[in-house]
Structures are given as C-alpha cells and as structure tokens.
C-alpha cells in the first residue's frame, strides 16, 4: 500500500517515539498535527508530554530543544518553514553546532530540526526559500534533504539516532508524493550519497525535489543517446565527495542542480571541490543549475518562470556534450 511523504514521515516519528523514550517532538501546533499534518495523532498515541505544542517563539524553542538535547533528550523540533529558521539561527549556529567542539567533546546535541522548504503553489517570498546552503557553512551541523518518501523514512530515523544536530529539510512539493515502504528498510548512513541511476557520459548531482527533475532530464537525454549518472546527495553536510569522485572518474563531466539560488549555493562548493580535487578527470567545465538571483514571486506564471527544472538541466547537460 502506497503512502504519502507526510504519512511516511509520521510513521518514522511514531516508530522512533515508541522505540526510544528520550525522543520528544515539539513545535508550533505539533500536538494538533502540525501545519502539514505530519504529527497528526502522535500526541494522542504517545502523550501530550512527548508531543508538545509551543508558542510561536522560534528562538526560544530552538534553544529549548538544544538545552534538552544536552541533558539526554532527543528532541525533534518542527520549524514550520525554513524561512522561519532565520529566527533560530543564533541557537543553531552559535550553540547547537558548536557545543561538542567548544566543550572539548564533553557534551553533544543529538537533536533534529525538521523543516520544510522550497517553492510551490504561490507560497511567495517568505514561505518558499531554499536556504540550506546557509547551514552547510556551519561546522558541527548536519544537513539532510530527502528526495522521496522512502528516503525520508530512513534518513529521518538515522538523523534521530545520530549524536549531532541535524537540519532535516523536507520539500513541500514532495509532501504529496506516494511510495510503498518496503519491509525491513535498511537505515541509511548519514553522510553518504547514493547513485540512483547509473550512466556513462555525465554525472548529474541533485537532492531533494530536484532529484525528480534530474531523473526526468536523464530520461529525455537517454533518448538523445546521452547517458546520465544521477547522484542523490541525501546528506548535504558533511558532503560525500567520495561518491561524487567515483562517478566523475567514470563520466568526466558534472552538472549540479538545485532549487536554491545559484549564487553562493551548494553547487558552488561542489563545483569548486570537483575543480580542485578532480581537475585532471574533467573533459568539460563543471556546470550549475540553480535559481536565478531573485526572491520567489507570488503569481503562478512568475513562480514557474523563475524556478529551475527539467528543461534547464537538459540544456546544461547538452551544453557539456559539445
């Protein structure tokens, strides 16, 4: 039986709450199910003390989760939109990320901040951003961005069990995507990418909802005789350069695609590392696909015009094949 991304996330949370009494959920409206229904029914099942509503106080609740994680809880905090994580930044950047280091290894912050990002449906400039690269700049944080319901199930469980603070970025366009969860899912290791489609000519690196566009592009390009190898990063920080290197050693070309603004995006970091670590392997310049440098607009025509997608990836790959 297939389940939506939201239902599968709920299942992962439900199972983790049942498995480990240290796991606690908190956030705005989470006891009532949260803004997107991910936590629906969990307060009734696991108790109001395990699934707690909070005031609209992102600074305080992020600090609260961090302090609780220092003292043995494994909090899973929901920040409704990644745009609102701007209000959590002092804690995430100055405290959660650095506690292990600043304390010389005495303390850890095993905490997950689930948040939702990306553009869809006219959510406009303050509810649509892809801000993950800000967090990728912070040593000590872990950033995970699942690309499908089944992926989200395993990655969320692994994130909750990790001993580090994780920003878990869910794309709103994936929430309605449906998959059937196989029995006995093997939990993925955080920090490892996966090859989702083997290919010969170009390595296409994507994550989150952009993985779907990457696969659509690979299908189209296959009809033209271009064989694309697709990598789903899964974990954006720490970055799995080994998987990227193995692929590029075979294909000698690379395209990185993400919805986030191209300037200063994760693609820039990956391109730079490919350029310096794999220069001799390259047959063409590393190319990026990302959002043009503008806020996300409201009107559907404008939103559509701005967002990068399948056609942009196809164009970028063709450009490398000369």
């Amino acid at each position: 039986m297939s389940q939506s991304f939201i239902e599968i996330l709920r299942r992962a949370l439900d199972e983790e709450l049942a498995r480990d009494p240290a796991v606690h959920l908190l956030g705005e409206d989470v006891a009532a199910g949260g803004a997107f229904g991910v936590t629906r029914g969990l307060a009734q099942k696991h108790g109001a003390q395990r699934v707690r509503n909070t005031p609209i106080s992102e600074a305080a609740i992020t600090g609260l989760a961090t302090g609780a994680a220092l003292c043995g809880l494994r909090p899973v905090l929901e920040i409704m939109f990644i745009d609102f994580a701007t209000l959590s930044l002092d804690t995430l950047v100055n405290q959660s990320a650095k506690y292990r280091y600043m304390s010389g290894g005495q303390l850890a912050v095993p905490m997950v901040v689930r948040t939702q990002a990306g553009a869809a449906g006219g959510a406009a400039a303050q509810h649509s951003q892809s801000l993950e690269s800000w967090f990728v700049h912070v040593p000590g944080l872990v950033v995970v961005a699942p690309s499908s319901p089944v992926e989200a199930y395993g990655l969320l469980k692994s994130s909750i069990r990790l001993g580090d603070p994780v920003l878990f970025v869910e794309h709103k366009r994936l929430y309605t995507m449906r998959e059937t969860l196989p029995e006995n899912v093997e939990l993925p290791q955080i920090g490892r990418a996966r090859v989702t489609r083997p290919g010969e000519h170009v390595t296409l690196i994507a994550y989150s909802a952009m993985l779907n566009s990457a696969h659509e592009a690979a299908n189209q390009l296959a009809e033209e005789g271009i064989s694309v190898e697709v990598i789903d990063l899964r974990t954006l920080l720490p970055l799995d350069m080994a998987t990227i290197a193995t692929s590029i050693t075979k294909t000698h070309r690379a395209v990185i695609a993400h919805e986030a603004v191209q300037t200063g995006g994760l693609g820039a970091e990956i391109a730079a590392r490919i350029g310096s670590e794999l220069f001799d392997e390259l047959d063409a310049p590393v190319t990026r696909v990302g959002c043009p440098f503008a806020p996300i607009p409201f009107a559907p025509e404008l939103e559509q015009a701005l967002l990068p997608g399948t056609a942009d990836i196809v164009r970028a790959v063709r450009g490398l094949m000369g």
């Binding site: 600074a59 305080a60 043995g72 100055n94 850890a108």
Partner: protein
C-alpha cells in the same frame, strides 16, 4: 545546604573563602591578560561574587548551571576545579574544554556546568531546555541561568520566560543587574528600571534583592529554589550588583565616574560579609587567614595552569562531529 535554614557560621566561612577564591581568580586573569598571557578578551565578575556564591550554595552537583560571558565566578562557586578552569581561560589542553572553549564558553559537564555563552541572552532558552529534560525524565534536579540586565533587551528573554512559565519548568533565572549593558547604563537601555517587573505579565514569581549582600542572596535564592524543587515552576531573581571591573579587561571605563566607583567599593560584598561575621563573633584574624588560604589556593592553581601543556595543533579538527561522522 538546606534551602530554607539560616546558614551556619561554618557555611558562611566557607562562602567567605569562595568569595576570595573568585576575587583572586579574576585578579589573576586581569594580571595575566595585561601581560598578554590570556588569549581573547575575558570579562571579569569582580564585585559580583556574592550572587554566584549565594545562589550556588543551594545547588547540588546534579543541578545544572548556564552562565554568560561573565561566568568565571559562577563556575567556581558551583565547585569546578580552579586549575582546570584557569587552564581553560589560558587555552591549555588541561582546561575543562581542552582549550577549545575559553573564558566565554566554559563547560564542566561532570560538575553540572553546562555552559557559558558569549551571545547575550543565548543561554536562557538552553537553561529552560535543561529544565524541560529534567521535568520530562522525572528527575529532581533544577536548572539555573545567570545573565546580565542587558539580556532583557533581547526577544529570547521574553520568549523564554513565557515558555518556562507555561510549561512550569524548574529553572531559576538569575539576573545580575550591574547597571550597565556593556558600556551603556540601564537608563539608556530601557524604561523598565527593575528587571523583576518583566515577570509580572507572565505571572512568574520574582524578587529584586541586594546582590552585594551574600546573606540576602542566600535567603532569596533559598526561597526561590525551594519553590522550584516543589514543582511550582520558574522564578526570576534580580540581584542588584556592581561590576567593579570594566566590561572586559582593558575597558577604559570612561562612561563612569571615579566617585561612582569609589561609592560602590563601599558596598564590596567581601567586606560586607566580613563585617557580619566579625559582628557575630568570628575573630578578624581568623577571617584574614581564611581569605589568605583561598587566595593561596588560587595562586597555586594559577601557576600549575600556566605550566600546563598547550593543545597540540594536530587536534584542531577533533570534536566537530560524533565518531560516526568523523
């Protein structure tokens, strides 16, 4: 000590000694900072020692403490090792944080010191979170956070007290109101003269006391902590005090007058406790020797810390992530 009983003379003598330990620790930080031996810019708590000592007298090892950039006194009053604390301020491998944290990020987890933070108001919600963990696990320990009056200008202060009251968290908010936020007086920061007034709309119990009188701090903190341990929720204790040192070592302090500084020296918490003890029959010579022994202990620890090993640069990337990701 018992939260409500009047302190015994012996307990007060021990506190007198700790006041001197903190005072000496800070004067040594100042001396060595001036000599270029202390990296960064340490913030001294000279003159504010009674708050640390009076509050921490009520804490057990498993009670947790969060402090600010001005936290040396709190850490020592909680019972952390003087040498390891000083070694951290000097950035040594033998420091409590192996030289990774320094003066503004002291952590001594085994002793319940869960951290100092250098971002004003950044520690408040963490302390509430630690209290939430205790509540969630049915543990009896409490959480205490020290902060300056400057922190009340931050949104995180108001967000946190709202949440702490709402969830009835066992957290004691201790404001050290020293009249200055960095270099600017309280009058220029806020129309609200006393920080305890902020507790009113949230219906949190609060009190403003003389923070330079260790007996007043002891009594008020005892009462507040008794409520916390009874499960009555958070408490805000505002301790009026005075920073006898500058904001940081090297601060020229052009924002306050010599007369102001001289008047506050009259209120020195160490002198006041001494007068009280003498009045209660403790010979001055005994107090002097207790003070000297506190000073000596610190001076010896400082010399050991200065001789301690410096961190090996090869370890600079240690402790960024858990073993699974390293």
């Amino acid at each position: 000590m018992n939260d409500s009983a009047a302190p015994s003379i012996d307990a007060l003598l021990e506190m007198y000694r700790t006041l001197w330990r903190i005072r000496t620790f800070e004067s040594q930080v100042q001396r060595l900072a001036a000599a270029g031996e202390v990296p960064g810019f340490p913030h001294l708590s000279t003159g504010q020692e009674a708050v640390a000592v009076g509050v921490c007298a009520h804490l057990a090892r498993e009670d947790v403490l969060f402090t600010s950039h001005r936290g040396h006194g709190h850490v020592l009053a909680k019972g952390s090792d003087v040498e390891a604390t000083f070694a951290e301020v000097l950035g040594r491998e033998t420091g409590v944080c192996r030289g990774r944290g320094g003066s503004m990020h002291l952590v001594d987890a085994a002793n319940g010191v869960l951290g100092a933070t250098g971002v004003v108001a950044g520690n408040l919600a963490l302390a509430a979170g630690a209290a939430w963990a205790a509540q969630a696990r049915g543990a009896k320990n409490i959480s205490v956070v020290f902060f300056g009056d400057g922190a009340t200008g931050a949104g995180a202060f108001h967000e946190t007290i709202n949440l702490a009251v709402l969830w009835k968290l066992p957290v004691l908010f201790v404001c050290e109101n020293n009249g200055y936020a960095e270099f600017t007086s309280r009058e220029e920061h806020s129309n609200v003269k006393f920080v305890s007034r902020f507790a009113e709309p949230y219906e949190m119990p609060a009190k403003t006391i003389d923070g330079n009188d260790v007996l007043a701090v002891l009594a008020a903190a005892g009462e507040a902590i008794r409520k916390l341990r009874n499960g009555e929720g958070p408490y805000l204790l505002e301790c009026m005090t005075y920073r006898m040192a500058g904001h940081y070592v090297g601060d020229a302090q052009q924002y306050r007058s010599k007369e102001e500084l001289a008047a506050m020296r009259e209120k020195d918490p160490i002198e006041r406790l001494k007068k009280h003890l003498v009045k209660n029959g403790v010979p001055e010579s005994r107090l002097d020797s207790i003070g000297e022994s506190g000073k000596d202990e610190v001076l010896r620890a400082v010399e050991r810390a200065r001789a301690a090993q410096r961190p090996n640069p090869a370890g600079v990337l240690d402790y960024v992530y858990s073993a699974e990701l390293s």
